[in-house]
Assembly symmetry: D2
Homo-oligomer: 343 residues x 4
Amino acid sequence: MIKVGIVGGTGYTGVELLRLLATHPGCEVVAITSRSEAGRPVADLFPNLRGHSELVFVEPDPTGLQSCDLVFFATPNGVAMTQAPALLSAGKRVIDLAADFRLADQEVWEHWYGMRHAAPDLLAEAVYGLPELNRQAVKQARLVANPGCYPTAVALGFLPLLEAGLVEAGHLIADTKSGVSGAGRKASVATLMGETGESFKAYAIGGHRHQPEIRQTLAQVADGDVGLTFVPHLVPMIRGIEATLYARLNDTTADLQALFETRYRDEPFVDVLPSGSHPETRSVRGANHCRIAVHRPLDGDVVVVSSVIDNLVKGAAGQGVQNMNLMYGLSEDCGLNQPALLP
Amino acid sequence: MIKVGIVGGTGYTGVELLRLLATHPGCEVVAITSRSEAGRPVADLFPNLRGHSELVFVEPDPTGLQSCDLVFFATPNGVAMTQAPALLSAGKRVIDLAADFRLADQEVWEHWYGMRHAAPDLLAEAVYGLPELNRQAVKQARLVANPGCYPTAVALGFLPLLEAGLVEAGHLIADTKSGVSGAGRKASVATLMGETGESFKAYAIGGHRHQPEIRQTLAQVADGDVGLTFVPHLVPMIRGIEATLYARLNDTTADLQALFETRYRDEPFVDVLPSGSHPETRSVRGANHCRIAVHRPLDGDVVVVSSVIDNLVKGAAGQGVQNMNLMYGLSEDCGLNQPALLP
Amino acid sequence: MIKVGIVGGTGYTGVELLRLLATHPGCEVVAITSRSEAGRPVADLFPNLRGHSELVFVEPDPTGLQSCDLVFFATPNGVAMTQAPALLSAGKRVIDLAADFRLADQEVWEHWYGMRHAAPDLLAEAVYGLPELNRQAVKQARLVANPGCYPTAVALGFLPLLEAGLVEAGHLIADTKSGVSGAGRKASVATLMGETGESFKAYAIGGHRHQPEIRQTLAQVADGDVGLTFVPHLVPMIRGIEATLYARLNDTTADLQALFETRYRDEPFVDVLPSGSHPETRSVRGANHCRIAVHRPLDGDVVVVSSVIDNLVKGAAGQGVQNMNLMYGLSEDCGLNQPALLP
Amino acid sequence: MIKVGIVGGTGYTGVELLRLLATHPGCEVVAITSRSEAGRPVADLFPNLRGHSELVFVEPDPTGLQSCDLVFFATPNGVAMTQAPALLSAGKRVIDLAADFRLADQEVWEHWYGMRHAAPDLLAEAVYGLPELNRQAVKQARLVANPGCYPTAVALGFLPLLEAGLVEAGHLIADTKSGVSGAGRKASVATLMGETGESFKAYAIGGHRHQPEIRQTLAQVADGDVGLTFVPHLVPMIRGIEATLYARLNDTTADLQALFETRYRDEPFVDVLPSGSHPETRSVRGANHCRIAVHRPLDGDVVVVSSVIDNLVKGAAGQGVQNMNLMYGLSEDCGLNQPALLP
């Protein structure tokens, strides 16, 4: 029984992690910390957990986590990097659901996140926790950087094409759309229902932090650097990401459907839909799956991939649990085999 | 391992039943019938079930159900009553998720449902499957009439008050609200997103089929007949029912909070919230729980109860599974202990 | 041409007032104040006004409003009462869209709003701006207290019944539902889309500020005090209020449909729907109308009224414009005759 | 006073046209036809029109339209082409809101619409009613083909770039998103709220009828043919289209902001937002405007344009009214100068 601690946990990623771990047969959450909610039962803050968790938020002092084997950070960016070194030194393993260890290049990280990195020595050790790319490394990792939500959806869609060298890597386009839970659970005018309901918009067209993260991942499999235009959009719904990916084909004779099916044949959480399909975000709501379809419109030289995930599951907490399963030798889908909630 | 058959199953109640049974450890779905979708894999119609079900819809002829122990009807009203007699004769047990066996009085049923009842002899035998009221009878039942969605939310809210004789039973009011999945999955203009999104309305104020069903249940516990004004409303969301109940108190000194907590102390699926709470439908999304709060506004002589369920779970498929568990001696919450999906 | 000033105006009531006045032929907005947004063009904050308004928010000092004939307060509760006296002394007329002057009884106001009233002398003078009840007084008023959103929907639904003495006034019930714009445009977790989307709940069952406001209005027409149970609910949509009203009839022989049609025959903004109808909030989205249907379910002794308004129009800014029209002798529907936006 | 007839008008385009014409000072709707709703008042079908229209649907026989000057077709594809010839012969002018006359090439039309064209002789005469491109021709036109919703949003976004020859015309990408009202008001499972709410998906990736329409328009301004990948998506909201457009720049030194502002300086309904902006669909809800922003992400060689319209207004009925105004010498914005409804 893995003893799990959670730092943070008052946001949407936190409650989703608690939901998934509540029925996970291989672990037990022994501590959850929150400065603002210390002393409050988690089931008071999140009533869906009534009857499923007796946990009470505790002050974020280190003693609370002493009994843990593994610590999840479900905190804003910039927290895990200050606390992870001590936890690792104390023999614990760490999965950061935020962005602190996602970029290997310290300078790039500091540029996009606007602060000094507090633990640059760990950047090289941290494993980017995309199991479909780095499964073996995750198994051995002390420190896992859980991928961002958009990067998960985009990377899984482009991987087969780049690994096969079938597309012009210099001009990739990712047009992505997310439900509002991606913006987190914090007081703000911009994500009020009155502001986001019944409306749709692009944002951060000029540049978004997930762009360098995706480029880093894609460069790992492409022959050299990649060029990527990345545009996110806000959808008037709560959960779900859809990424529509565009690339120009070097070779229009390749069997793209077979390529994707072969690449993901043994992946428990990547589902390549039949030719001609259009994945819906609701088909993965609450589930850890990524569903993908690949198209070549009007038989031209542009490939279009549509990829959907639940941003809080495969895009955050669920992928974290998947990584935990790998780190501790459990079945990769342990605690993650519930069907999505549809409708 | 209970061998389960499903008749119908192309609607929202059907897919929800399949979702719940996909991870239920005590049963196996061996057949699902649909005239319109025969030959089609269920996971093709409902992509959330990809990887969870290999079932293929078959023609609704009786041989398909021969190997079943238990048959669920997830059909429109009027179907189960024509097929249940033969299945019962063949030694199977039946749970009807539709309304065919909910009203004990044939005449009343025929008035509200606008057709002749095809199996009136079974009305007396059918057990109304509200476990919180009829648990022992359900255990022995061959034929269970699974309660309607509104009736479940309303009955659970009024039961403690009526059992204790604390309210004027002649003038009860139930103001109820439902997400659109309650209207089913059939082509219709009235439930298009363009018609129901960003709007709210009452409907069927003049009279609704669930009114006699609720009155029958409440009369079972009240001292004689009850008077009930029942008004349903359509909410621009998919899942969830909230019922706000009003009654005049005979006795304003009673401890209503204690009354509710005591009544439901041992119920696995009825959660009485702390005093002063307001249950949200999202706190039960995908879960089989009913969450209830009881209030006495401004310390007056009117009691107000707010009760929430997921109309597709505790209001339909989940309660059906709860009844199945009771009928076969399984733990009542077997396969039903997932937390709700929030947000 | 009426010279209009607006104090506040960065919230939803403010932008709606600006929208309505942008095409109003009888007035001109000459100043709008906001401490937080001073110096910013209103069309920058509210892009729907691009091309319709050149206004720039100015600091809320008194000189900015010197040129106005009429000042609207679109501010939080407690602001208008501190500034109205000076404006009235300077010969201006005032319409407060907030609650400062809605309750005639200072003590009751201070109890519900939790502060000392800064201008109690004006409470007796202020006219409660429900034209359907106080039209003549509004025409002469220097100071209009614009009614609350729920109180408008509830009062218009009960008025005919109470005026005719047809119902037991001691046990009225108002079950009301509002879109989230009613909670305003301020940073808050509780009204995030992630918290309010796809969910429904009651709130403030124990007591809500609109309860005494409604009672005061109803008592004006009933024979003595009234008893009212008032329960509001939050609907996952942006605009719209529906109120379902319940009362016990003294006389079940009255022609309720005729009563309502007669009462509102000459009202430009109250539309009594044909017998058997169910008003939808979308039928008044963006419009100043209240649509009402009256029912007697199952021919019993309970009358049920369903009343819908747009909370930002007839429930706030639109009713304010209606009052302005009356105060300045314009046609009552001047600038208010646009059809609702449907779908 | 223009005498207007409407053929069809029971769908969303129809009710929107009726809403806009209800307050249009220069025309009068004298007849509206519908086979299915003949005899029914339009305000009965669309309650937002109560008090604004006394019209009653009539049978679609030709005599009903004899008194009209102008006939709008708000019908499914394939209807206008059968009736327009007779109306034109009778001296009437016609605006088809459907697709019958949008493609100049009969063969291409028949391929995409799957039927024989009934009036191919009129294809050459029909004017494609995008005023920003064809204003002078519209003024003289007897027969206007009102553009599709996606084509309007996409064409207005690409026009300045193609006219200036700044982008590689062979590899344009349009990633477009629409609310569900674009799918019309007809009974269907696919557009139920239970199917489309809280979910997002791409559709018709393999090919969509609006692709050839857009290519035809863009080819008119580009130097030769253009290559276009067009992918539409369904957004869980009712109204609004956002188009995100991608193209590779030939010249990264051009001032794109100035280019767009200059191109649309005199256009009453195209609003170029300040540099760095992100248009929201709600900023045009109910209004005839297209709002556009142009970006060059990370100062690279890809230009990204985001363009929003209300699919029922600038994407259908509103553009039809704009064309009518041009045809009859009215001010182009006559009846179209209401601000959008926000929130």
